[in-house]
Subunit: 697 residues, 2 copies
């Protein structure tokens, strides 16, 4: 028999068993009690959704933005695809006259960081914020035109969180008016720098400023590292890609070491501090308190992006769980066209217990992120008036919220992947690479464990102030409020006597406030009165930050629903009701996860704990009919999800098998290596008759 | 300047800052209070350790077993390397006359599943257990000689956990004495089958046996699927690789669909049930209760392998945490040669709280796995005497323990990866691919959520028996014991009044027993007396299985230390003390994680909860000096760990940078794609002068 070894493998044209996914999802959507489009508009605005449609249409028809081979790429293929996308996006932006939001949407939809990502996210913003006019002309203008490509080199092999411990030096040479950048040890190598490994020709380098023998600590320099003629590394520079990572392999995270590398005086970014030419005298920067405001903005954006991450994972898992059927639930058999079918896994309480709190947490992060944006604006205008009263609380909460919510997101993505059962393990689920790429969020922009120390320091300080009567309650400072309430009655008990009592927003907030205050008070007691060291208390410190930030999430979710004008409209009554149920679920599920703290504080008793568990199950049942509608409202297009399991149309098995057909290994009927590694074994059998015997069967 | 674009990138020959890793680890090892080698011998036996050295020496010197490019491989490269390894292992086994244990060690050390893995793990064992003598000659003998290569095809696209729902049919054709294997729908496609995608020429196929129009449910068939001559798929078969996965990409997990594919009567594996030739009459199998014993053996091995997985992750994280320094702890500055150095992260309580319970859980799994093996043997000999009294408890516990411990392992691996900070994200950490490859353990051999239902069913049944006075307490059935104790005093309280009281083994076991019994009793109450459906109770069902299995883990750990003869020797006194502390830590840390359940049951009060937290911190401090010694005792060679961060010698930064040098992207000074995607942008700037200005700096 003559065989074509290049014949592609194709599945027979058969339907899946039972009602197909599109019918199952249509049935789910018919159950929704609210207007999905209205909720999307509230979250994104109609204008944004239009923009997304417009950009999506361009990307889906541009080969540089094609995602169909993404899960098959090797590392070099990922790099090549990324550079192609980077160049093409610049062209598309011009062709379509896109504004910054359009470009942001394109990057969001493409959903893969690239070598130029840090050029936009760190290099250009740093040049905008930290340069003189001369430096803007020299560095920022060419950067905006992509005449130079940059990155941001801070972290070193030996130093991440401890920025003050960075080793790279920049020594001013008074005689020549130059800086000499130098890496004194192996651990001084810059490390993790996105875009540096292969693409960038410039870098912002954080180096210890040494003037006349004195060390002024890390300062930023803008340094050329590769030739603009032929892209080869400049002499004195050792630069490269740092190798494969758990995810993010489309980015050339790199290392760089400097061997007494000379750069001109103008390389020192001099907007704030300055170095006087010739004398090397240091001119101090003005007070930088205002920059804390920016950090709040960055972290508000992180919380909003957590909402997207959880929404994405939940969209895939919820839709798939409505299509995936397994076992017949004998006590409550599901019927379709009068015949018993296997039960969609979304009908199992355990599955609801995994999926619906995830949906709720996505909405919690949406409302909290939105409110942080509002507070950021408010704080900026207050600071402009010289009022710094909001800043400390906002900054502390934003640190802890970054930590709490990104940890939540990482764990939720993985939970949703597992909730897809075995098929969640296929890259075609769209959750595997997503998880891999998401994970750095728990480490960067402040390690999630270390960040909680900042929050806890503020909480403990505020507690001491409240105890000393020095803290002034304010409309915006809820920390002071809940601490004050706790101190007024440290033996308070939760008044709930029925499960539905637990749905009362005031009661929920009181419980979260009491639990946070209790932890803060006990920790302060141990440190201040029992002589416990900060180090020995790090576990509790982490807990009080989490307790405070869970209070913030729950509070903002509840209060936003009370105050939102659009949700108050009569036509949105059903929608408001669904969101209220989600807020209750988020709150009660969170209490259940942290039950130990709520009960040991003496606030909740065992009977209330049992009622709470039942109430969570009741909320699952109530929200269940709207599950698919609630993820549809996130309005995440199939192109973005890139998931065979989470498609809007529910044609899961058809898409999954189609993608399997495209596996490059399937392009040949016989695997490479057969002649060398399999044939000798099998043909030995044929020669000796034994295998032949089986073959004849 | 002429540039060689193929010049490799090399780091300058500089040391890392501060005391090097080898010195730091030597200092850690000097602090150990017990004999590391003795502990290794107790865990593995001296003979096993010798075998490991012997096999390791062969593998480290064989190019087919080289791991240095593993983290760089593309999917096709992984497949090629795997097939090479498969063939080479067969040769090495002959060359060195290795026995099965040697081969197992080789596979363990190589640490990457391959296309032949399922040939050994499922195809051959199935042929051994389920065939007639004729079939052994026909299939097993050639399989043992690798004249045929097989796989095990059970799971389908639409059916995993629900085996009874499999769709593939095998219809007996009375006239021709053949079976016709057929896939009636798309979801009937066999899916996930390791070795099937590209390598196997035979498969065990689970298909519904249809005899004279009657469906007898899934039965096993041994079926040829590819030509032994040229490896092309046989007519009637559509087979291929199912594409990229989150991990396990060295294995060709495949799909197969059959189009009225005829196989001879002998393909039906007929050790147990039979099909009469011509008439198609079904002959029932004998009672298969004995096969439950095998399942216990399989799961005991899973628990032992969980020990290895956690041990491996902890080894990397603990060693790295002794080398990695960050910040100076001002309250307690670490000194080296009289100078203050940054503090090794292992000295931070939060880091200890992440790492040391992981070490403790590895030892817990070791003792539990070992004891399950003992009980397996005991049960086998009891069953041979006709006594089935141990079976139900052992089977139920083993189901829940598989679920609990593999979930623990997956989450611990990820915790340890994150505990390595940013560098944990590099594949060179050795934890990323490990996590990816480990994850299927939470789904296969019984989905971890579904398995807990089996355990809970047994627990609820036992509870009802105890209540009805029908359960007989036994030396081996601890479930009956703790349930009986609970029913005797359902209002019992923990008697601890000081933190050290909480170290008392009896007190710990009573607490775990009470908490498990309380959950079982409340669940039984809701189902039996309040009419709650099984589905509505799935969350609690999962909880009681976990509670029971945590009791088992804690109990076995504690009791094993009390009974072990070698540990009772005077020279092992220090070792025993360290293990006791680990057992206490495991128990108290577990209570702390599940505090809500211990407190709501009324058994522990708030003061005890606070004492418990303090006691956990005290245990961390006590165990801290032995951290490195405790992971060294796992005796995991560097070749196995394949981790730059977890090396025995502590030369972390040297190895990490050496591996980065080997990144294939670094083999060229200028990245592929430069000419197409970067040069046009930058040269545009050079032409227009702006970039040139920056270039001259």
């Amino acid at each position: 028999m003559a065989t074509d070894n290049n014949a592609p493998i194709r599945f027979p044209n058969l339907p899946p068993k039972g009602p197909d996914g599109d019918l199952l999802l249509a049935a789910e959507r018919a159950k929704a009690t609210f207007d999905v489009k209205e909720l999307s508009k509230i979250m994104y605005t109609e204008e944004y959704l239009h923009k997304m449609d417009k950009v999506l249409d361009v990307l889906e028809n541009d080969p540089a933005f094609d995602k169909s081979d993404r899960y098959h790429y090797s590392r070099p293929e990922k790099m090549a695809a990324s550079l192609w996308k980077d160049k093409r996006l610049i062209e598309l932006t011009k062709e379509h006259n896109w504004d910054q939001q359009d470009v942001d949407i394109a990057n969001f939809l493409y959903d893969m960081s690239t070598p130029f990502t840090l050029h936009y996210q760190m290099f250009i913003p740093t040049l905008k914020n930290q340069t003189t006019d001369e430096q803007k002309k020299l560095f920022l203008e060419p950067a905006l035109k992509h005449h130079i490509i940059g990155c941001y080199a801070q972290t070193e092999l030996g130093h991440g969180s401890n920025v003050q411990g960075l080793e790279t030096t920049a020594t001013y040479i008074n005689e020549t008016n130059e800086f000499e950048i130098h890496s004194p040890s192996l651990t001084a190598s810059k490390w993790w720098i996105g875009g540096l490994g292969r693409a960038a020709n410039h870098a912002i380098v954080m180096a210890r400023l040494i003037l006349n023998g004195k060390d002024f600590g890390p300062h930023p320099f803008c340094v050329q590292i590769r030739s603009l003629e032929d892209h080869t590394p400049l002499p004195g520079v050792t630069v490269g890609d740092l190798g494969p990572k758990f995810g993010f392999n489309s980015v050339d995270n790199g290392f760089i070491m400097f061997d007494k590398y000379r750069v001109p005086h103008v390389s020192f970014l001099a907007k704030y501090s300055q170095v006087k030419v010739g004398s090397g005298e240091y001119v101090k920067p003005p007070n930088a308190k205002l920059s804390y405001g920016t950090m709040v903005w960055v972290r508000a954006n992180i919380v909003l992006s957590v909402r997207m991450a959880i929404a994405r994972a939940a969209t895939v898992a919820v839709r798939y769980s409505a299509v995936r059927k397994q076992f017949v639930d004998a006590a409550n058999p599901r019927k379709w066209d009068n015949a018993v079918i296997e039960t969609p896994v979304l009908d199992y309480t355990m599955q609801q217990y995994r999926l619906l709190p995830a949906i709720a947490s996505a909405y919690a992060c949406y409302f909290t992120g939105r409110d942080m944006m509002r507070l950021y604006e408010l704080n900026q205008s207050e600071m402009a008036k010289g009022n710094f009263g909001l800043l400390a609380d906002l900054h502390a909460s934003s640190s802890g919220l970054k930590s709490l919510t990104t940890t939540m997101a990482a764990s939720t993505i993985e939970d949703m992947r597992r909730a897809c059962g075995g098929h969640g393990y296929s890259m075609f689920s769209g959750l595997g690479m997503f998880y891999q790429d998401y994970l750095p969020n728990v480490t960067w922009e402040g390690d999630n464990y270390i960040l909680t120390q900042q929050t806890a320091r503020y909480l403990l300080k505020t507690y001491r102030n409240v105890v000393a009567g020095k803290a002034v309650a304010s409309e915006y400072n809820f920390t002071i409020n809940y601490l004050t309430q706790y101190l007024e009655n440290p033996n308070a008990k939760c008044p709930a006597t029925t499960g539905t009592d637990l749905l009362n927003p005031e009661l929920i907030l009181a419980a979260f406030g009491f639990r946070a205050a209790y932890g803060i008070a006990k920790t302060a007691e141990l440190i201040d009165n029992k002589g416990q060291s900060w180090n020995s208390m790090l576990v509790e410190i982490n807990r009080i930050s989490r307790a405070h930030c869970q209070y913030m999430l729950v509070r903002t979710f509840i209060v936003s629903l009370q105050n939102d004008e659009r949700l108050a409209k009569p036509e949105n009554r059903n929608l408001l009701q669904v969101l209220r149920s989600l807020a209750s679920l988020f709150a009660l599920y969170t209490i259940e996860q942290e039950l130990g703290e709520f009960v040991t504080s003496g606030y909740l008793n065992s009977d209330q704990a049992a009622m709470l568990k039942q109430q969570v199950i009741a909320l699952l049942e109530e929200i269940r009919p709207n599950s698919v509608a609630l993820v549809d409202a996130f309005a995440l297009p199939d192109y973005y999800l890139n998931s065979a399991l989470g498609r809007y149309d529910g044609k899961v098995y058809q898409e999954y098998t189609r993608q399997a057909e495209n596996e490059p290994l399937n392009k040949k009927l016989v695997v490479d290596g057969y002649d060398q590694f399999i044939k000798p074994l099998v043909h030995d059998g044929l020669k000796n008759g034994a295998g032949a015997q089986a073959a004849k069967l």
